[in-house]
Symmetry: C2
Subunit: 374 residues, 2 copies
């Protein structure tokens, strides 16, 4: 596939910017309806059947965002297009559209993520910088989150060889603001990346989603100084889920900033104290071709003869009855409800779009807790 047509790109953007549509729901919708345009048409009715109408992104709004990106030199690269980062394309939950400022060509080189504590020690920052500098010199692209501390040290040391900063908000919303200069230096040889629209100020829950993109871009993640329950540990967990290598630098047992990274090492992360340890761990992965999850099929328009399913009310009722706040495996659900699998998938889509269903790890789903006063 060479790329999306302008009409397809607008439809993709409208779909991913609609309420309650994340990367996974996007994929389910496009696969079920055979294309983004068909999914968009079905969206209001699906959500209504799920129990609550949702806001669908209008055509003008999407066209404005595309125009704004063009004005600022930001490319919106679609999953399945040649310039989409190959490692990310292979990741479950990859963003359908990725905003890229700078050089998308860095993604032709292998990427390693270096993340860690915002309040990192001086030694931790030095180590992250040395690692990033040496990995950059060895041909690796360093990805991180532009945060204070370890992230900034890693970016700063690899500005000259190409580094990638993944934003939790829009590409015009540099966070923290004092890293605006660093961001502008990153663009010269590397790239700024975001799946969020321009103007989007990052909120708390956007950071784990951003961390998934960092992990997805990279063959492996190096954690330098991470406290327990820190964002870096989330990135490491996501990297594990995505089958990527997790590495960590050791730190003093008495330093709370190293409790998380030391815990990763106890759980089996590869201990790295030198850049060649990282290269040794990741080199076997470089030439292994990333498995692309059916990228073509869902980038095309509706297949001829394609017939979307409308589940019967009985099916919907039986599935709803089986769902609760505890996660249930979709496979079990389908079997217990005695509903055709594709039909069950549509019911789940409906509930997801209506904001009543959460996807949990390992193919499980749960009803979302709803505030009774709303």
């Amino acid at each position: 596939m060479a790329g999306l047509t302008p009409e397809q790109r607008t439809a993709w953007l409208r779909l991913i910017r609609s309420e309650n549509v994340g990367p996974r729901t996007f994929r389910s919708l496009v696969n079920h309806f055979g294309g983004a345009a068909a999914a968009l048409e079905a969206l209001p009715e699906l959500a209504r059947r799920g129990g609550r109408p949702i806001r669908v992104c209008g055509k003008a709004e999407a066209e404005d965002e595309i125009a704004e990106n063009e004005r600022r030199g930001v490319r919106l690269i679609a999953l399945g297009e040649p310039d989409y980062p190959a490692a990310l394309a292979a990741a479950d939950g990859a963003p359908p559209l990725l905003g890229v400022a700078g050089h998308a060509s860095v993604f032709l080189r292998p990427v390693v993520a270096i993340v860690g504590a915002r309040n990192a020690s001086s030694a931790g920052r030095s180590f992250a910088g040395r690692l990033a500098y040496e990995l950059g010199g060895a041909g690796w692209v360093v990805a991180s989150g532009l945060a204070r501390g370890i992230d900034a040290a890693a970016h700063d040391a690899s500005v000259g060889t190409g580094t990638v900063a993944v934003f939790a908000g829009g590409l015009d919303c540099v966070y923290p603001p004092e890293h605006a200069d660093l961001a502008s230096r990153i663009v010269e040889e590397g790239a700024l990346v975001s799946e969020m629209p321009m103007g989007w100020q990052p909120r708390g829950r956007d950071f784990p989603r951003r961390n998934r993109v960092i992990a997805g871009l990279a063959l492996g993640v190096v954690v330098v100084e991470a406290a327990m329950r820190s964002g870096s540990l989330i990135t490491a967990r996501l990297a594990t889920e995505l089958g990527r290598e997790v590495m960590a630098a050791p730190g003093s047992p008495l330093d709370p900033r190293c409790e998380g990274s030391n815990a990763l090492l106890r759980e089996g992360a590869t201990l790295v104290t030198r850049s060649d340890h990282v290269i040794e761990a990741l080199s076997p992965l470089v030439d292994r071709e990333a498995p692309r999850p059916q990228p073509i099929s869902f980038a095309q328009a509706a297949t001829a003869g394609f017939a979307p399913i409308t589940p019967g009310d009985d099916d919907r009722a039986r599935i709803l009855e089986l769902l609760g706040p505890s996660p249930a495996a979709v496979d079990d659900l389908v079997r217990q409800a005695r509903v055709e699998a594709r039909s069950a998938q549509v019911v789940l889509l409906e509930l997801e779009l209506a904001g009543r269903l959460e996807r949990r790890p390992g193919g499980a789903v749960a009803l979302r807790e709803v505030d009774p006063w709303l």
Copy 2:
């Protein structure tokens, strides 16, 4: 076996204090001749056949050492006697006689070794102390080498619950001298241990031998801050050879004092940052009975009908011809020389006693480089 008779004890002491007789040669001799007294009788002739006469420890000298130990309240406990530390008894190369000042009863409790850098950081010392204190409180006896830095911190924190200091020299030669007060506090609830005679000032090569006793006494060794090529790494290697658990505390990648301990972690040592990590790693070993390597047979007098072998000159010549400065496996040697195995063992004993043969790890032997000007 209840214990050695006074005559046996004197014979054991004479044998182990004779020139070129280490713990392994001691065991070979006693096993071959069926007792220490018979081995002592054979010693001069064996060494002569090996090519060089050796100094055999006289009866009066041994009796003086025993008397001196008694005067100072030091017990000489023999391998195979009930009070000999069970974990050490199971270790290859265990000293036949162990000098113990203080409470030998500490060896009825499980022992964990904590070792590390003499020039340890303040954080490293604090961590070693915290670990030793908590392990002591949990019923463990802490063993170490009384060195400056980590060793001293570990002893100091576990004085109240029982700690064991293993000396590289005689028990009257506290090294370093400024730890004399610490040593006297250790004796109150714990023990000082040495395989060397009173008055023996430790030399460089005594320390690795001492480290083997530390590793042998313990179910596992925790290394806190060790540089590359440090004594603590030797202790860790010996612990691995003895099948004991090797643990290490992580440290900053930029601190040379942690390079060795971090390297151990990369090689598979268990990462520990809390005392319960140590307990978790060692608990499964506590109740497992240590395999005692034939302790009775070699503590007894010569077996009735026992006939020591005298190898023929042809056998000796064929074996010598096959030996060189590169290590050779004893099994290969025996096969290639077409010599009876027991006969070959005696030839090797002869050469060992004459100081011409070195034992290498894994059952290999090599001719010792001899200074041509001697």
